[in-house]
């Protein structure tokens, strides 16, 4: 399972976005995060934290959706 705090730090390091202070409604694209960078980010989170994002999960488009994804992975059973 994933520990949320380092995951948030990792996202900030990779994307330059602080999800703790970001508005949930803010579109990731407005922060320079396009679909390709999101694809790469999800892969990196999977590799770094040893988790698997369900293939049916739609890629996050807003900050709130990325937070929800991380919280969901954190809550998942190992």
């Amino acid at each position: 399972m994933l520990d949320a705090a380092p995951a948030y730090r990792f996202v900030q390091e990779r994307l330059g976005v602080d999800l703790k202070t970001a508005d949930a409604a803010t579109e990731l694209s407005s922060l320079g995060v396009d679909s390709l960078s999101m694809l790469e980010l999800v892969f990196e989170i999977e590799e770094k934290f040893g988790v698997k994002v369900d293939e049916d999960t739609p890629p996050p488009k807003r900050c709130g959706e990325l937070v929800a994804l991380i919280e969901q992975l954190a809550a998942a059973k190992p």
């Binding site: 994307l15 330059g16 976005v17 320079g32 995060v33 390709l36 960078s37 694809l39 892969f43």
Partner: protein, 419 residues
Amino acid sequence: MTARRVAVTGVGMVSPLGATAPAAFDALLAARSGIGLYAPADAPKPVSVPAGVCAEFDAAAVFGRAKAGTLDRYSQLGIAAGLEAWRDAGLAPEAATDRETWGVAWGTGVGGAQVFERGYRDLYVAGRERLPPLTVVQAMNNACASHLAIQLGLGGSCTTYSVACASAAISIGEAFRRVRSGAAPVMLAGGSEAPLAYGVIRAWLALQVLAPGDAASAARACRPFQLGRAGLVLAEGGGALVLEDWARAEQRGARIYAELAGYGESCDHGNLVRPSSEGQARALRAALADAAMTPQDFDYVSAHATGTREGDSIEVAALTAVFGARAAGLAVSATKSAHGHALGAAGALAAAFTVLGLHHGVVPPTLGEAADLDPECAGVAHVTGAPRRGAALRAALTNAFAFGGSNAVLAFRARAAPD
């Protein structure tokens, strides 16, 4: 019918001499070296070589961290240089509707080598089974060109030339042909390279052509035309020109730096690594013929000279063969002495420095001391140690000679003084 003329209206550069073209040009004229001792941080066995690193380039600041993370370094350097040239030309950054025939021609030797290396490390060293999903589109040699076309909305041809150290000169030459023929009114052309990966450095060391150096001597490790020169210095960088139909450029009131007047190519067809002055002379003559110019018309040659013992004197032999009586008065310099050899980007850096030199009426120098010039490289008017100002600078050639024997020469003419 009058042939179309091709104007250079924009210049961009990211190099070991600075993160922009003006910064690099100023550093070159001040005879500053951008070369230092480089040791890749993640090397499994320590290695250090003199190298030209683009230390002032901050990819995260240019692209944002998210976007920067989706690009190999060769694309980062190239896109930054391409966009600088575009802005410099006064062209709108946003895609417009009239760009369906505009294009981009790019050059690179090893392309996404750093992404390849990261992938192999993940697979073979870390034992991973999965690679990052963007590995293919980051590593491909046409990634940089496509990013530029996408960002600027260029709907015409989008091509990448991989011809070792002649890559960018050939991309500029081919773009020139497209503008001159009328196929494209505007082309963005140049090249980029990021070869400072552990495996690439090891491969070049194995070829035994790299100049040695330590922390104290690295800045002067690349010594073209000079006694005691001991090899080339690897460098990373990107360079770009905006080439534009002359009439179109005049009509929109663009600043015209210079005219790209001719382009010549040849192949040595002899040896993969040992250059041939006969082959080089064919490319030089082809460029002159293409420009309908004679040796008497030229005042400067930006040499390919990389600082190898054999290569530099062979290039001078080619110049004296083609220029004859004019050679003794022909200014020659090798800017690689200041920034190293950026391989597939080298032709674009040479072209950018030459265009700026023609615009400002100044010949950039070879770093070093005139007293150290090798008699084997005599026969031309070397500009060494300090720039040459105040003398006529009507037209110039840039040479790019590749391993494999591919040679490319570009002929630039200064914009005539306004009457």
